[in-house]
Symmetry: C3
Subunit: 249 residues, 3 copies
């Protein structure tokens, strides 16, 4: 069996973040919580989410693989209002996931399960030379700046600086975050062991960070021509994204 | 002659509610006020509005049939701002309706009259087994829930419950309003003489209730496979809608 | 050389106002400030802007013609947030204009210069019989009213009245601003030496006034079948527009 109760706002944020790159997913449920990982259709990005039992108000779960049409789930979750109570319940017989919102009225949705088997994908354990932590709002703004000039973007770590830049045929944009020189604490962590530079598809990076709030802290792992790993937390749930670099020929 | 002055905000709401299903209408004006009724082009829904003389700040009217392009009138009324004074005046000679907004400037529109004769439609006097009153906001939200799963919706009255549900091939949605168990007073009235269930076209129900405010109280009359009748008031003006059921074959 | 620092909000407003009718422009820079004039592609309207040295926080400039893709500049300026410091700097070697926003982070854009030579256009020195000054908000609303009935609009000055009206085949709209009878001070100046009436293309008039704020005072110069001249100021910068009348045949 599987039945879990949580705050609809937090669950909404996790589902939105997961569904920006992936259409269907398999929730791997067990007594410790919910996990899910998937690659985007073009296999450029990997999305992984983990909601430990502790983030739920109440939680009971045996081992289940619950295949979900994320697009349908997202639309249903979008119908929640503010801080409603949200109840997820597996209906094994009918092969459905029941999603119930409780406030002054009870609103119940049922979604047919997909026959998606667990991917058993794991985020690979790569060792990175550099890691910065930055407020999501500032990172997203830098992506929007870059979008004006090109469809790819370079993330560079060098000498107490984290630089995001993009060059087009005519115009260019550049945002510089300086370590130890930031009264607003936008760049909250800066660990560099060697200068690095990698270029990424801008649309993917935008999707990866679309559901963040401005104050979320993104933990970004970087190396030269390595995939970028971006991690952040939503009230105890963990989101991890991996994006392959664009190798310039 | 016909000349009436009122608050633009109230008139806007009545016209918007009326025009969601109907493109042209004949205002039947006399000394007691304005009335109008019309069926939608596919003859599935009937719309009826009544603005008694008392809702106007000043009112003078002889018997007139004033045929109006509701789309044009709606656009003009949409140009009013907040609580302007609105003056409606028939220009018999030029065959126009003058619509004047008065605030710090005077803005005047003239609309050519249509040759629409009075429909003499009346809302049929049907006796209904059940009647519930519900806040428009909650009703509209239930329609939006249903929209995620199908294009029709079932309204059910049973055992101290008013249930709105929709079933799709894969997913389903259901909102339950319980009588006597509602601290927010969403369901303000519940009269049942026998259980009933009817299914309606969701798009029509959405149009019927599109111009409501969340706190408006909808008086809903229901019976099994009977048309639904929905009534509400806007500052003394009355709106009545009748919608034929979808008979499942 | 050319390097100037100003408030991003003011510069944004001037650029937006200029770019509504014109795609590219040549900033004529010298030690007294920035000037630019251009005609719209169909040569119906003339746009002229002047930012004297005094409106900048700091300003250094030799004589330069800086050809700009206004569309690209507008998009970049749109990326500024609130009252950031904005630095414009000519990079003569690379033939680029650098646009830098400074707040807690430094964001820098470079735009390639266009090969647009100075137009040497001047706003012709026409003598007008009439001139009114009016709040931009009220003027823009009158244009929106007119838009409901036709694609051209007539500006009329007569006997202590400034009237904006539009006639369609079926409907018409009219806004009357009365001199000396306006507690809200919408019409702040009224000088008439003879009654006048001219008709203009509504879409152009909308573009000319699109970037105004409701409280901006538009100085409007009018005569019968003469071009209309509209002037307003943005924190010391001057915008002038000239629009040819539509001559009814």
């Amino acid at each position: 069996m599987f039945k879990a109760t949580c705050n609809s706002r937090d669950f909404k944020k996790v589902i939105n973040a997961t569904s920006n790159l992936v259409d269907e997913i398999c929730f791997e449920v067990d007594e410790t919580g919910i996990k899910a990982s998937a690659m985007d259709p073009s296999h450029v990005a990997l999305v992984s989410m983990g909601m430990p039992k502790e983030v739920f108000e109440s939680y009971e779960g045996d081992i289940h693989d619950i295949g979900i049409d994320l697009e349908a789930l997202k639309k249903i979750i979008a119908r929640s209002k503010g801080d409603e109570k949200l109840i997820l319940e597996l209906d094994d017989e009918k092969n459905k996931l029941n999603v119930t919102f409780k406030s002054n009225v009870t609103r119940k949705f049922s979604i047919a399960l997909y026959d998606v088997s667990s991917s058993n994908l794991k985020v690979p354990d790569i060792s990175y030379p550099n890691q910065v932590s930055i407020k999501a709002g500032a990172f997203v703004e830098a992506l929007k700046d870059a979008e004006l000039v090109n469809d790819h973007i370079t993330l560079k770590v060098d000498e107490d600086k984290f630089v995001i830049y993009s060059k087009g045929d005519l115009n260019q944009s550049e945002t510089v975050f300086e370590n130890n020189n930031d009264e607003y604490e936008t760049l909250t962590e800066f660990k560099m062991s060697e200068p690095s530079k990698s270029t990424f598809n801008l649309a993917y990076l935008k999707d990866l960070t679309k559901s963040t709030s401005a104050e979320d802290i993104l933990k970004i792992y970087l190396g030269s021509d390595m995939p970028v790993k971006i991690e952040y937390e939503v009230s105890g749930s963990k989101l991890v994204f991996l994006l392959a670099p664009r190798i310039e020929s």
